[in-house]
């Protein structure tokens, strides 16, 4: 089959590789119909996530048709399913408590040692990501093997098109959990750093969960325009002093909840970020947490700090005293996707989310290398890319002309 492979920093190539096979009774094999490129794939692309190996098949947002099942799978051939990016057994201590991304069994014994050494405890597994999270082949491919297929995959009714439901795999539940973790009370002001796909779903989720207003922070006009379309007030951080603006918009107390949808690769021409850039270049550090630092300083005393943004290791110049003295509550973590997919599918059916208008491009799987480049370099016009294994090479569709704010 053809598959998108990671070959090194800024090197993605589409290769012919062996087809996946059923290995365990609970496995299923899917023929992938849609697979998206995620913001966290950029951390792999930029070489910031340790534990990748040349030749790994990437991709953790995907859906497809069941073509083969193991004896223990509950899926049936021909069913359309969306697959959570987190691989979870459903039966360990963590899965029983719905902390699916902390699954204690999905990271196999061969790869969990390094993960344990680095994190203190081995992380749960994910598709198409570093070997610290299991080293499973991803879904940016024609076919993919899905372990524990009786627990994760969400069966999709035939009348719902791929674009409506594909993001149940990661970014929609991730935005939802980000807002749930912010413990929003009716009327709260919620500030969201980053208007990438996760930020855009966080905005929608925060409003659905009762936020009085959402203030979104970014610098790409197209992304800010989408944020406004989904109901947020927007701040372009290259135009305004973000902290001053947030204070002045909240009577001086700051937002009740601050959500970092940026993660380890903050943009922004600030002293702390320049220093972080230098350290990253010299391999002295991986984290560039400018947005998180700003969120801590901006948050109201006793407020909520939710961190869906991905970080890889140790951060410095971290405002710990500020966090403590202001008495912030911090919630974070990879998304417990399986906990939310059922209710979110119902909400999609009821039209409560706009899951489609952030997609800027549909492209053939064969053009993945070019698409990664665009996704990395042209974040204004490329707001979400969906790869289709079925399309002929070169058949790239820009879904719409983005309206600028």
């Amino acid at each position: 089959m053809r598959a998108v492979t990671w070959q090194g920093r800024h090197k993605i190539s589409v290769e012919t590789v062996p087809d996946p096979e059923i290995v365990n009774p609970r496995d299923a094999i899917l023929r992938v119909t849609s697979t998206a490129i995620c913001g966290s794939d950029l951390h792999l692309y930029d070489g910031y996530i340790p534990g990748m190996r040349a030749g790994d098949i990437v991709g953790h947002e995907f859906m497809g048709e069941v073509v083969e099942t193991g004896a223990g799978s509950t899926l049936k051939k021909g069913q359309r399913v969306v697959v959570p990016f987190t691989i979870s057994c459903g039966q360990c201590f963590f899965c029983e408590r719905q902390q699916y991304s902390a699954c204690d069994n999905s990271n196999p014994s061969e790869t969990r040692d390094a993960s344990e050494l680095m994190m203190g405890h081995a992380m749960g597994a994910a598709f198409g990501y570093a070997h610290l999270t299991g080293g499973y082949a991803g879904g940016q491919a024609e076919y993919v093997r899905v372990p524990y297929s009786d627990v994760g995959p969400v069966v999709i009714p035939d009348d719902l098109p791929d674009d409506d439901v594909l993001f149940l795999s990661d970014i929609l539940p991730t935005g939802w959990q980000a807002a749930v973790n912010a413990d929003i009370e009716p009327g709260d002001t919620v500030a969201v750093w980053g208007c990438g796909p996760v930020g855009l779903f966080t905005i929608q989720a925060a409003l659905l969960l009762g936020a009085g207003r959402v203030i979104a922070i970014d610098h790409f006009p197209t992304r800010l325009a989408l944020a406004r379309k989904y109901g947020a007030e927007v701040l372009d951080y290259t135009e305004v002093n973000v902290r001053e603006a947030l204070d002045e918009m909240t009577g001086g107390i700051g937002p009740d909840a601050c959500i970092d949808c940026v993660g380890m690769e903050s943009h922004g021409f600030t002293v702390d970020n320049m220093l972080d850039h230098v350290k990253a270049k010299l391999y002295l550090g991986t984290e560039r947490p400018h947005a998180l630092r700003q969120a801590i300083l901006a948050c109201r005393k006793g407020g909520q700090l939710s961190i869906p943004g991905v970080y890889g290791g140790f951060a410095d110049k971290f405002p710990l005293g500020q966090l403590m003295e202001k008495g912030l509550t911090v919630k974070s973590g990879q998304t417990h996707v399986q906990r939310y997919t059922g209710e979110l599918l119902d909400m999609i059916r009821d039209g409560e989310f706009d899951t489609v208008s952030l997609i800027s491009h549909h492209a053939p799987l064969e053009d993945a290398a070019e698409m990664y480049r665009h996704w990395h370099d042209e974040q204004d016009s490329y707001t979400k890319i969906v790869l289709k294994p079925g399309l002929q090479k070169g058949a790239i569709e820009a879904v719409q002309e983005m309206e600028h704010a």
């Binding site: 996946p20 030749g55 790994d56 459903g90 196999p108 014994s109 597994a125």
Partner: protein, 221 residues
């Protein structure tokens, strides 16, 4: 031209003296630390014995895992016949009667090693102790222990093993690098036991990649 181009090489005698000084300071610090520890009366610890800093003259280690199944079920599953299902380095186990079993295991560099162990004590539902016999290639002893975890969380399963590493500490390090050292193997086997008991299968990341050396049905690191 100036200051910068005029750099002279540092005096080698001075460098050597600095090195000796640093080494002496290091040795001094270590001795001081040791004396400080010796002076401090040991307070009896509640920590498992295998987590103490100075454990034993033999290679001793232990690993405990929370397994989300009832204790009796796990004890029953810890059966010689089922070992090849989750012990990856075990080629075969034959029971020779009288609690004695002969184990053929994979050693470093493709060698096969024979262990002959005798069960010395069994507390049904709780623990099994064993000790190697003189025929064993490697002298070893160990224990597997099952204890109820609090609040109905399942069972703490502990595997404790001591052995005389062939080739001493260096040999052990070498075997670790080759991923064929008993501690590495036992820890991984215990995880596989947990996976098998909780999920009904041993977790595998076997999947395709663009690496010619791998197949889609074999697990990889």
């Amino acid at each position: 031209m100036s200051y910068f181009t005029h750099r002279t090489n540092p005096d080698p005698f001075l460098l050597a003296a600095a090195g000796v000084g640093l080494a002496a300071a290091g040795v001094g610090l270590a001795l001081w630390q040791r004396r400080r520890k010796a002076d401090k009366p040991a307070f009896p610890t509640d920590a498992p014995h295998w987590t103490k800093e100075r454990k034993s003259d033999r290679a001793l280690f232990g690993k405990s895992l929370l397994v989300n199944r009832p204790r009796e079920e796990l004890f029953a599953a810890w059966d010689v016949k089922r070992f090849p299902e989750f012990m990856e380095n075990v080629v075969a186990v034959e029971e020779a009667g009288d609690g004695i079993s002969r184990w053929t295991i994979k050693g470093p560099a493709g060698r096969e090693i024979t262990l002959v162990n005798r069960i010395t004590e069994t507390a049904p539902g709780e623990s099994i102790f064993w000790q190697s016999t003189p025929d064993s290639d490697i002298a070893n002893s160990g224990e597997v222990r099952f204890a109820d975890a609090p609040n109905g969380r399942g069972t703490y399963v502990s595997l404790i093993l001591a052995y005389d590493p062939p080739g001493g500490t260096l040999g052990r390090l070498g075997a670790k690098l080759l991923q064929r050292e008993p501690e590495v193997q036992a820890r991984r086997d215990l995880h596989r036991f947990k996976q098998l008991m909780e999920t009904g299968e041993v977790t595998s990341n076997a999947s395709p990649s663009a690496r010619a050396s791998e197949t889609p049905t074999q697990p990889h690191i």
